[in-house]
Amino acid sequence: MTAPPPAPVRDPAWPLSRSAIGLWTTQGVISTVVYVLALAAFFVFVPGDAGTPVTLVRWLGPVLVVVHGALAIGVRPRLRYRVHRWEVTDEAVFTLTGWLTRTWTLVPISRIQTVDVTRGVLQGLFGLSTVLVLTASSQGTVRMPHLETDVARRVADDLARRAELVRDEAT
């Protein structure tokens, strides 16, 4: 139990775009700022001598926000980038996501129902898009987040075309 045991299945080959780190960091900064503002509002509007719970929040709140900030800005983006991988093989779409709990998802191209490309506002700033591969199963959805937009579009087109060619019943 000392050396990290090997992964249960192999990892997909390709990493995400490096801009994903920037995007996740930005998201971390935004959420931290929101928490700081909420906490500041609490300090300003709630009188400090209103009982034990308030004192508790006054002490715990800043600690939690600092921990969250350190994790969300300093640790999580890099860890996520190290974990996240994706690959499209001849037969299947294969992804690995998560940062603490890891999830490998494998869907054969013949069972793909629809392929969506979505781009949020923040993603747009970093030139990234998400490819969503849907199947008949609610749990069999493959998300390939934060690919470069032109890569995402190419992958989506290619998958949709190949799915059309090899589709069987798809359920």
Partner: protein
């Protein structure tokens, strides 16, 4: 896909007006308004006001029912079924016949009085992920309902061959109907299992709940002034407990009887047909070609007496938990032999590694030990020892719970199918056809990684969408997936 010129639609039977008037189906929405107005203006005291109110609501209800009957029509074309309705905004829904996934004919009590049935048509919607939609044709004569079902289900597959006559109640079996094979029939002795099944136990509880609510709302003067027993002594408590147990047992048996009365599962051509119900008679048809597997579930109480329940996993079936039922309640062996006819089992289950047992025990002991810890702190600071005792009890109970959870775990993969089992309170054992799996997911939390375990989920376009083999040995995960799914899953192998 749409018929060029939809034929003039057919109406439902006018008798449905009576049914809907009696049940206030359409007027139900108006009732609060009327009551509100009544309350605001103050009802006269006399019975005349009450009568006026009742007559008014009935007339309103009749009107509403008449309007929706008048504006509703349905037509079954060669390629699509069209339902038109709506007073001001007309809505026309066209469902291509090849999208029809199932047809259910049900006959609630009032409908039966008037010789009517309700037909539910399940359709797969476009390409959305979970989408199924439903067309409801409410209130056609029984024969017409059966004709609709037959037409909808046969026209899709083969040219309309005669009309299978699904009349089970009377002995008027048509000699030309396709061969029917009875697969299961409910034995009334199985009702005795009902008190051990959670779902049926809930029936009397719900009834008691409704009664107390009713009693609360009764005006004070109607409540009989019963002198409650002042002394809480042994015999009274004992009698109350015995009475409560009796009510529970009887209620659950009655509940099970009402739902499953004369349950019958038959196979006719390419379909499985389930008929059941005492008050509302349901007639559900499942296409065998769309069945992807089955689940046999055994609750804690059911395991004690060897009872089980089986349901089919069908693609594109809405409300699958109820409609997919193949075997509502009965002996274990029967449930299994039924399942075996649908999907060949992949062989005996393999147990999960000892690390999975450790993890199961640890996970079920943790909540108890948190309480224990809190209890220790409280005992030390405030002298409350109650929490400490509760914590000790919970922690100790966690051990058998964890062992039970571990004992339920298992998985197997064969050439045609795969199986997973889990759950302690409700143990469910799912067997899936090989073609059912449309994707795999492997999950590993940091704790699982340390223990060398992983959870493997088979994604399926039927039932709950995914079936998990929890806490497999991590190095067995890839092997399990490839045995179950063949070549395309080989991508996952660590060596490749």
């Amino acid at each position: 896909m749409i018929d060029p010129a939809p034929q003039p639609g057919e109406r439902t039977s006018p008798r449905v007006l009576l049914v809907h008037t009696i049940t206030f189906r359409q007027a139900r929405a108006l009732a609060p308004v009327v009551l509100g107005i009544g309350a605001a203006r103050g009802l006269g005291d006399g019975p005349a006001a009450l009568v006026a109110l009742v007559v008014g609501i009935t007339v309103l209800s009749l009107l509403a029912a008449a309007v929706s009957w008048w504006r509703f029509s349905y037509a079954v074309g060669d390629r699509a079924v069209v339902v038109t309705r709506g007073l001001l905004t007309r809505s026309v829904r066209t469902v291509p016949l090849d999208r029809v996934r199932g047809v259910e004919v049900e006959a609630p009590l009032l409908h039966r009085v008037f010789g009517l049935v309700r037909v539910r048509i399940d359709a797969a919607a476009g390409s959305s992920v979970t989408g199924t939609e439903e067309l409801l044709v409410d209130g056609v004569p029984r024969a017409e309902g059966d004709r609709l079902r037959a037409v909808l289900l046969t026209r899709r597959a083969r040219p309309a061959a005669g009309e299978p006559e699904p009349e089970h109640d009377a002995a008027q079996d048509d000699p030309t109907e396709p061969v029917e094979e009875e697969i299961a029939r409910f034995d009334n002795r199985w009702l005795l299992y009902a008190p051990l099944v959670g779902g049926y136990l809930a029936v009397p509880l719900a009834a008691v709940g409704a009664l107390t609510r009713l009693a609360d709302e009764l005006p004070e003067r109607f409540v009989p002034d019963v002198e409650g027993p002042d002394v809480v002594d042994g015999p009274v408590v004992a009698i109350a407990v015995v009475a409560a147990v009796l009510v529970l047992v009887l209620g659950s048996v009655i509940g099970a009887a009402v739902v499953n009365w004369r349950f019958r599962l038959v196979r006719r051509g390419g379909s499985l047909i389930a008929v059941r119900g005492l008050v509302t008679r349901r007639h559900t048809e499942l296409e065998i070609d769309r069945i992807r597997g089955y689940t046999v579930s055994e609750g804690l109480g059911m395991r004690l007496v060897g009872a089980a329940r089986a349901s089919a996993l069908v693609t594109g079936l809405g409300d699958a938990a109820r409609r997919g039922q193949l075997f509502p309640l009965g002996p274990r062996a029967q449930a299994w032999s039924l399942g075996e006819r649908i999907v060949e089992a992949p062989g005996p289950l393999r147990a999960h590694p000892p690390a999975a047992r450790r993890r199961a025990v640890v996970r079920s002991v943790v909540p108890g030990s948190v309480v224990l810890l809190a209890g220790a702190v409280l005992t030390a600071t405030l002298g409350w020892w109650g929490v400490l005792v509760a914590g000790i009890v919970l922690t100790v109970l966690g051990v058998p719970l964890g062992l039970g959870l571990y004992a339920a775990l298992g998985h197997a993969a064969g050439p045609h199918s795969l199986a997973v089992r889990s759950g302690w309170l409700l143990r469910s054992h799912t067997v899936l056809q090989r073609r059912a799996v449309i994707g795999w997911q492997v999950r590993q939390s940091p704790f699982q990684r340390r223990a060398g375990l992983a959870t493997v989920v088979a994604c399926v376009g039927a039932g709950s969408g995914g079936y998990a083999a929890v806490d497999l040995a991590a190095d067995e995960a890839a092997g399990f997936v490839t045995t179950a799914s063949g070549r395309w899953a080989g991508t996952l192998h660590p060596s490749s």
